[in-house]
Subunit: 110 residues, 2 copies
DNA sequence: ATAGGTGCAAAATATTTGCTAGGGC
DNA sequence: GCCCTAGCAAATATTTTGCACCTAT
């Protein structure tokens, strides 16, 4: 699962895990995802008009949510650390950040 | 409402509007917020662990959600347009973007 | 009269929780 | 046995929707 780049919803994870552990329940999935997210081991991505996505990558990167296919793409671009630094100078303690783009992905655009 | 900087939830907006229009319903609030957001006239901000916030500013800016007080602060920093441009060069059609920081705000940090 | 927007309430969706029970030490 | 975690189902939270009605054109 660590190598997963598909940003699945809790539901999708549930279905997948169920193949391995047929009696697992959705509640358990949510419970564990929440704990993992609190620990900072995974990333919870709340999305407009839909269930949250989960990301198993914890290195800083962006996401692009396609309006049409709904797929969440990883965007490989370096984070401008200047933003975080600037915030910290202003007295904010940044725990995590999230940069989200919405629009049409290359596939759906054409 | 246009000058509002408090990033209210639909519920908060409902309560406020109800002062003016006592018989308004929450469903109508949601309905109208959704339309406005689709038109790009307001911004819908999905938040982890809570209801979406709405922002009446449409100029590009960031938000900082405090883990403790839950308040959404406006962060006044210029958007690096290079990111969007880079995405567009890669074939993405960017409709809107959203940069969200989570952590402790200056008030709650101390 | 017709179109568009609304109230109301039910439905749909998403997530959390209480409680009981089972597995590992 | 004790503790931790899970299953299950109910509860909660959030958002959307159907439908009848009202109002302005």
């Amino acid at each position: 699962m660590q190598g997963d780049r598909s940003h699945p919803t809790a539901e999708a994870i549930y279905l997948r895990v169920k193949n391995q552990i047929p009696h697992i329940s959705l509640g358990t999935i949510y419970r564990n995802l929440k704990v993992l997210a609190e620990q900072g081991l995974i990333l919870e991505i709340p999305v407009a008009d839909g269930p949250a996505r989960y990301d198993f990558r914890t290195d800083n990167h962006y996401h692009f949510i396609c309006d049409k296919c709904g797929h969440a793409h990883d965007i490989e671009m370096p984070l401008p650390t200047s933003l975080t630094q600037s915030l910290q100078r202003s007295g904010y303690a940044v725990r995590t950040q999230q940069i989200l783009f919405y629009g049409l992905c290359p596939n759906c655009k054409s």
